[in-house]
Assembly symmetry: C3
Homo-oligomer: 316 residues x 3
């Protein structure tokens, strides 16, 4: 899509050299063929440092847009970003793509649906009612139980087990809201990548990234009914117990253990080898490795236990 | 079904004019061709004001049944209501219904199942392993991802997106219990209506109403793994973050924001533009619009934050 | 499999009479043709009393292995148990098994998948996209809604209703971890048994046992999005409200009521007729019948309510 046609979609003036734009991305990650956006003055440094071809920007922030980067000035830049995201959304299925490649020794149920453009490795077992979306890639020896849905463009490694009715790569929860309280979808044009030797329970939801990738690293273990928000990164060998979850963009180090019904707020960084007791509610970064936490608000677990004793004394 | 045959099912005496009964309903909503019930003396006013053709009632409350309304006197009226609910349950699928109507431009996977009597609008995308039940109706331009189940009689509007493995219209959680501790199912003969421009995440459960409708209004956004109980009404543009839920019959105004893992008790009324922080537990009505709450028990969020500071001081 | 071949898999010495081993089991439950294991000195009594043919054991505990029971000495017995569990895992589907038996009057969707070796009773309704695994057994009059997955070897009784997208018998969450932080799957070779007259909501996960059975007794009612861990036993007529759950090996008596978003830790015993308010967090055994609890840490509900009043006073 050309930059001038993007300006037309956003109903904004355009007085730059026209170039071909390949996609959208965050200010920090955008390349010279991508468009980015900014909605908030706290990202001024990111605007100044961006390599994006263009940035969707409110008039109040236009002065920070660097030379060589086109400023697409709009009233509500988050809303305009949502508008543009639709233009970059690929079709869900594409009959023009080649029929899926199936590796030697793989057993695919005739009641599974493997969309055109997908690639399945060797010696996989894909059971009935599974859906593998367009251009999705599955490694070798992976077992996918019934009614699992893998959305387009997602990648699952080798030696993985995905239990029944789990959903990999549905859209992250993203929308802009205008001053009438109406919402506009932000199309989630990223994907999910699951590395090798990962086991995921049943009825789990792992959302695709808005840009880039939601990443589940090697050796992770996820129990049932767990929620992983868009753009999360889950470190090697980390463990999520049932009914726990994470909001978007949170990054866990390796071997983090997340107790049942625990949850992380978004945009956090969690040190490796951290352990969270059941029902932990994590709203801040964890910088020191190897400690155990609990409660909401979160405390070190031994402190939380002490606090419960003190609270119980209020009854006397 | 005739009123006399209903009396026979309930094994109670019948000395009224016989009429045709079309269904069951709550005391307040029942019409003159419907049967209602009452189990509790706190609903005396509702008995007195009912327009129902008949009411299932214990002997202790029969005096409040208005003239012109037949009293079906039973020992355990809630149990008897459960018994009768089965008689009104429609069959799950009905081969005698006409083959589903599919609107122009809609793309239906050959691996989806569209039951007889269903109607799909124009330009819809229905992916593999979707189930659309008998007499369900889907509007125009709606996208339904794989393995979504829409039960019979439910309605989904136009421009909606339903993500994979979500269930619309399964039975609400209703049963009567006798004094031996045994349960009897209350058949959920209502439905779910989802208005236009609603997006629902993956692995969501929205239950059908016992009578009437579970209603999701225009522009609502629901994240993954959310529970909406029977007979809820969710106001326009309201937002449910992942793993939150509501028990039955709760009504939210417009633009209510429900944080992750939050929950509402049943039968509440929540003012519009209310915001609930993650993990809120809401057990009372919210009458004033536009405030932010948190905690369990629920407080205004700023008060909850203050309280946490006070609680932490107990450690000193 | 012979005991000597098991020793070879575990790379340990073997100087006993060779016998045929039929499976693995817990120390207390193992028969004279089964292998067990012990990883912790707190189970010394169980080692001494075991009837297992052999026990996987670290050198430090070998002295407690009774006469007539072979000691398979390894460095990390839990890891070795995980290694061996794979050898006993049956294949997921087996074409050599006979085509499924379908009882008279049962209506099976042509879009359901009934694996070889399964048995469906009389007058069942099995809707589209259901998966019934190898050698699974379904009783009479049972209704299974779309996209339910029943894994191999699981049993569902008569007069049950299983709502859409629920998963019965996926692997329990079990793995051994070595000192590099890597995980090895413990194959879950047990099953799930659901007795008669049970209703289960949508998007529920009930895990199969590691050995033996996860048991849901007669008349139980389970709402949506509930998690039941491996080897749990849920007493007759017990009730789980939405988004609640139990970790593994917890046993509930009859008519226990579990409020929404509540949870049990693993390995607990809960007295019959106990009631847990919404959001209860249960971490200890409940010995006395008929009481009502709430909170986390758990208190009697009336005490918890009093405590909340005291806590609120901290604001003054």
């Amino acid at each position: 899509m050309t930059l001038s046609s993007i300006a037309k979609i956003l109903e904004t003036e355009f007085s730059y050299n026209d170039i071909e734009i390949t996609g959208m991305n965050a200010l920090k990650d955008a390349t010279s063929s991508e468009v980015s956006f900014v909605a908030n003055s706290k990202y001024i440094k990111d605007i100044q440092g961006t390599k994006a071809a263009a940035v969707i920007v409110p008039a109040s922030l236009v002065e920070y847009v660097p030379a060589g980067c086109a400023a697409l000035v709009v009233e509500n830049s988050y809303w305009s970003m949502a508008t543009l995201s639709q233009a970059f959304a690929p079709v869900i299925e594409n009959d023009a793509l080649p029929i899926a490649e199936i590796g030697e020794g793989s057993k695919i149920s005739s009641k599974a649906e493997i969309a055109n453009g997908a690639k399945i490795g060797k010696n996989c077992t894909i059971l009935a009612h599974v859906y593998i979306g367009a251009e999705a890639v599955i490694g070798d020896n992976t077992i996918i139980y019934p009614s699992v849905t893998v959305y387009r463009d997602c990648k699952i490694g080798s030696d993985c087990i995905i239990h029944a009715n789990t959903v990999i790569g549905a859209d992250g929860f993203g929308f802009a809201t205008n001053n009438l309280g109406e919402h506009k979808k932000i199309y989630q044009n990223g994907n999910v990548v699951i590395e090798d030797d990962v086991e995921i329970g049943s009825n789990v939801s792992i959302d695709r990234a808005v840009f880039g990738t939601t990443l589940i690293k090697k050796g992770v273990r996820i129990d049932n009914l767990v929620q992983i928000g868009h753009n999360c990164e889950i470190g090697e060998y980390s463990v999520f117990v049932a009914q726990s979850g994470s909001a978007g963009s949170t990054k866990l180090g390796r071997n983090v253990v997340v107790g049942g019904q625990s949850a992380f707020a978004g945009h956090l960084e969690i040190a490796p080898f951290s352990t969270f007791a059941a029902r932990s509610g994590v709203t801040n970064n964890i910088k020191e490795s190897g400690k155990t936490y609990g409660g909401f608000p979160l405390l070190e677990q031994r402190t939380w236990l002490k606090l419960q004793v003190k609270i119980a004394r209020l009854l006397k």
